[in-house]
């Protein structure tokens, strides 16, 4: 997030797009709902009538996969109405003229044709966002999990810069991170193209610096493979060994059937986890690890706040902390990687990672601190880009709408979108083992609108087969007012009816994020 969670209360308008906030980030949704009670305007764009849509001043319902067109449409109206922030554009940005030209053709009527949102609602939404003094954009996977995900994110940055909503309290572009430490995993260099703190692996100076701190030589300066590239590489045999720590790609990957075959092809699959997950079941070796309550360390939350994790109970059996296991493996392979405790690791992190440079366990003992925090005296940085962007001026990027990789057709006439439920988390490894949570939501379902239910002669609880070009699953129908005609929704937490047997492994060309949010499916009653 460019801004903080607490900062939401200072917004005059909150624009939620592609985030089912009340189910996926419930405590952030409380900040938004309290702001709305105090008069903040709430604008929601989502293909489903989610809870936040019910609470909003205006809900606009775009067809899944048409976000960039919608955002261009909003910018078109804002410019036409003269609501843009000319001073901010002149002082802080470049590339505006080109974007202005691109969005010219995205008139409300044109955008209505693509998104299905009536033109007058597009105008109303644009005015709501454009005329607010400070407006905050909140988004999540609904924006990124598309083949056009990177474009969508850039479009949102365009919109925020257009209205001068960057670097101010109550403004910003605020991605909500799905898993608890996505931010930290990225900060720490859990990415194929960067070392910790996003220092590019192709940058010789960065390589030298890291080599000297690690007291080693010969680090690779070639960008590695992303998770979504590793699976096909395993399939074609270029990837021979895979070490999976705390992940369950066999349930979270798009097109599970393909992923399964790929992993079977490996010479060595090592899985380190707290449970025997679907992926662990296929491994050659499984290492048992400790869960969060059994270890010390830090997480970085979605607002870049680095916070402590503390050991509260003993681990079962011989389970070890993940870093201990990895270090012991390194030692067995003849590499001297040894730490007495995780505070020693953290202190090394602060040397390699400039944005963490001023942090220490002592400083974050009571309350976490927002990075960047370069020195021991630095108070941390709740709001990013208040003075300038890291690259100097903020770049506008002209973005055109592109259709999703797979559109509904005669054979597969429905759009499928996937997502999460309040009571479960990711692949359900933890939540499905918690009786209470499982009792509240015990099995997968396909959510269908009332009209579609009628059309396909389905009722609440009817067992159906949902199939795509890649696979087929059986589950029960849930007729819901959240669903909109032509689009069905399946949560992806459940192994028995894994939504990702259906989804499309087609990737965004830059972010390599799969298109989970839309593919084409058909639905029919299961044989009794």
């Amino acid at each position: 997030m460019t801004n903080t969670i607490g900062d939401i209360k200072d917004s005059d308008c909150i624009f939620i797009i592609g985030s089912n906030t009340s189910e996926n980030h419930p405590v952030i949704s409380t900040y938004i709902k309290r702001a709305v009670n105090n008069g903040t305007k709430l604008l929601v764009a989502d293909p489903r009538k989610i809870k936040m849509a019910e609470l909003s001043d205006l809900w606009i319902r775009q067809e899944s996969g048409t976000d960039a067109a919608l955002i261009n449409g909003l910018m078109n109206v804002i410019i036409k109405e003269g609501l843009e922030d000319t001073k901010f554009i002149a002082d802080r940005t470049s590339g505006y003229e080109e974007v202005k030209k691109t969005v010219e053709k995205y008139t409300p009527e044109y955008v209505e044709g693509i998104t299905g949102i009536p033109a007058d609602k597009i105008i109303k939404a644009a005015k709501m966002y454009g005329s607010a003094k400070a407006a905050s954009i909140v988004y999540c996977m609904g924006i990124t999990q598309h083949t056009s995900g990177t474009d969508n994110v850039k479009s949102l940055a365009n919109l925020a810069m257009l209205c001068g909503n960057m670097g101010i309290a109550g403004g910003g572009v605020n991605p909500l991170r799905g898993q608890n430490n996505v931010q930290g995993a990225c900060d720490m260099g859990g990415l194929p193209n960067v070392f910790p703190a996003y220092q590019p692996v192709v940058n010789e100076a960065a390589v030298k610096k890291v080599e000297s701190i690690w007291n080693t030589t010969g680090l690779s300066n070639k960008v590695g493979m992303t998770a979504t590239e590793m699976i096909p590489a395993a399939h074609d045999g270029t990837l021979k060994a895979l070490y999976v720590i705390g992940e369950n790609p066999l349930l979270s990957d798009p097109d599970i059937n393909h992923a399964k075959k790929s992993l079977e092809n490996l010479e060595l699959l090592v899985v380190q986890d707290i449970f025997l997950t679907e992926t662990a079941k296929t491994a050659d070796v499984v290492f048992p690890s400790k869960c969060f309550a059994e270890k010390d360390g830090t997480f970085a939350n979605t607002e870049r706040r680095v916070q402590r994790v503390r050991k509260a109970v003993s681990a079962p059996g011989e389970a070890k902390t993940d870093w201990e296991i990895t270090c012991e493996l390194a030692q067995k392979m003849g590499y001297d990687m040894k730490y007495n405790n995780c505070e020693e690791i953290f202190n090394e992190i602060t040397q390699v990672t400039p944005s963490y440079g001023g942090l220490s366990y002592q400083r974050i003992d009571e309350v976490g601190i927002h990075w960047p925090c370069p020195t021991a005296e630095h108070p941390g940085t709740p709001i990013l880009h208040t003075e300038q962007f890291p690259i100097g001026k903020g770049n506008f990027f002209p973005i055109e709408h592109r259709d999703p990789a797979e559109m509904p057709d005669d054979e597969y006439p429905l759009r499928l979108t996937t997502g999460r439920l309040l009571y479960h988390y990711h692949t359900g490894t933890m939540t499905r083992k918690s009786e209470g949570l499982n009792e509240r939501a015990s099995e997968g379902f396909v959510e269908v609108s009332f009209e579609d239910a009628k059309k396909y002669e389905l009722e609440d609880g009817t067992p159906v087969k949902v199939s795509s070009r890649r696979g087929e699953i059986e589950l029960k129908v849930q007729v819901s007012e959240k669903a909109v005609n032509g689009t069905v929704f399946i949560p992806f937490h459940f192994t028995e009816a894994a939504a990702n047997l259906l989804t499309n492994a087609e990737l965004d060309p830059v972010s390599k994020i799969p298109e989970f949010k839309i593919c084409a499916v058909k639905i029919k009653k299961a044989a009794a």
Binding site: G184, A185, G190, L268, R308
Partner: protein, 376 residues
């Protein structure tokens, strides 16, 4: 603030800000005024009147949580009149419903009968489930009162425990309304409210339904703010007593909000979770953070390394498992190069663990094939 903003409390003078209440000024200066219905961050309702104070020139006692501080105001927080009024309120509360803590000592000689009746209703052979962790009980001690002076009134509403998380025990509800404010003003879930009138009053979910059939999302905010034993976590009720537990502050491991939580530990097990009153969540949690801790001591947890032998995963020692991987991986890297290895780290692990994981890929194997599944 200026020379004109001076209030006198118990004989001492204090400055105050323009929108401060008497209670806030007192609390800021460590003067202890008891409260029950007051809930930080919400609009004061003045429902319980336990916080009354005596103000010079006022015709009656005033609720300090709703009374704005005023210049030259002279306030007594523990005058005989104040104490008498508090005692009356407490006695009345203690005599309605099942307040079977030792202090309530209700009903004189009928004490035993009363205990037996409550224990039967509760299905437990112990004193109140929040004994030792109850604001009403604390105040009863402080003001040395019992429910004896009043005729006991029975609660008309049966206990509700038909959901996995929360037990609603109306017999111990003092109708302070904190849960209503927590649900409507803090979490804004709007699931519960006051229902019925007068002596029939009850906190209800819309249409007086069970929580599980209402808009309730089981965030548990109401449980955390309830001052008495009317709202208790199902797994905690009669299983966990506060003096048996220790608390460890940590970060929720579910979503990216990173709520600060206390894990309550009994006999090396997590038995309860509460929200810590600091950023970013200031005490609030969601159902996963508050009630999703059972996985920790699930019998399905992995306890030993496993190696696949004859097609099956079999338990092995650490030495064997690590040695096996080191050899095999070493050979693969030697024959096919570092880029034939890939590492998937996890957005659920700590920073330290992610750091070590990528260092392993980069420094030990010498490849940048490292990624996590946040894209998924």
């Amino acid at each position: 603030m200026g020379a004109s903003n001076i209030i006198t409390i118990n004989g001492n003078k204090y400055d105050f800000e323009n929108d401060e209440t008497v209670l806030e000024v007192a609390r800021r200066n460590n003067i202890d005024i008891p409260t029950l219905c007051h809930l930080k961050g919400t609009i004061p309702t003045g429902a319980c009147r336990i916080c009354v104070v005596e103000v010079d020139g006022a015709r009656s006692l005033l609720a300090s949580c709703t009374t704005p501080a005023a210049n030259n105001m002279v306030v007594q927080t523990e005058s005989p009149l104040v104490v008498e009024s508090r005692k009356e309120i407490l006695k009345f509360m203690l005599s309605s419903g099942n307040h079977n803590c030792a202090i309530s000592n209700s009903f004189g000689e009928n004490w035993t009968d009363f205990q037996l009746k409550v224990q039967e209703e509760d299905g437990a052979e112990e004193l109140c489930p929040v004994w030792g962790d109850c604001e009403l009980q604390n105040l009863a001690y402080r003001y040395q009162v019992t429910g004896d002076d009043h005729t006991a009134t029975e609660c008309k509403y049966p206990l509700e425990d038909v959901n996995p998380f929360i037990v609603r025990d109306f017999s111990r509800c003092i109708l302070c309304g904190r849960c209503v404010q927590a649900c409507n003003e803090v979490q804004v879930n709007n699931a519960i409210d006051f229902g019925y009138r007068g002596s029939d009053a009850k906190i209800i979910a819309a249409g007086d339904r069970a929580l599980k059939d209402s808009d309730c999302v089981f965030c548990g905010e109401c449980v955390q703010v309830c001052p008495v034993g009317a709202l208790v976590e199902k797994d905690v009720r009669y299983n966990v007593r506060p003096w048996e537990t220790e608390k460890v502050k940590t970060t929720c491991s579910y979503c990216g909000v990173g709520c600060q939580i206390y894990l309550h530990i009994k006999e090396d097990k997590v038995v309860k979770v509460t929200g810590a009153d600091v950023a970013p969540n200031y005490g609030s949690l969601c159902v996963k953070g508050r009630f999703g801790y059972n996985f920790i001591d699930s019998p399905e947890r992995l306890t030993m390394p496993l190696i696949r032998k004859d097609g099956e995963l079999k338990e092995a020692s650490w030495d064997e498992a690590l040695g096996y991987v080191a050899d095999k991986l070493g050979n693969i890297v030697k024959s096919d190069g570092p880029d034939s290895f890939g590492l998937l780290t996890s957005a659920r692990m700590t920073n330290e663990e992610n750091y070590i994981a990528q260092k392993f890929a980069r420094a030990v194997v010498k490849t940048n094939n490292v990624d996590h599944c946040a894209r998924l």
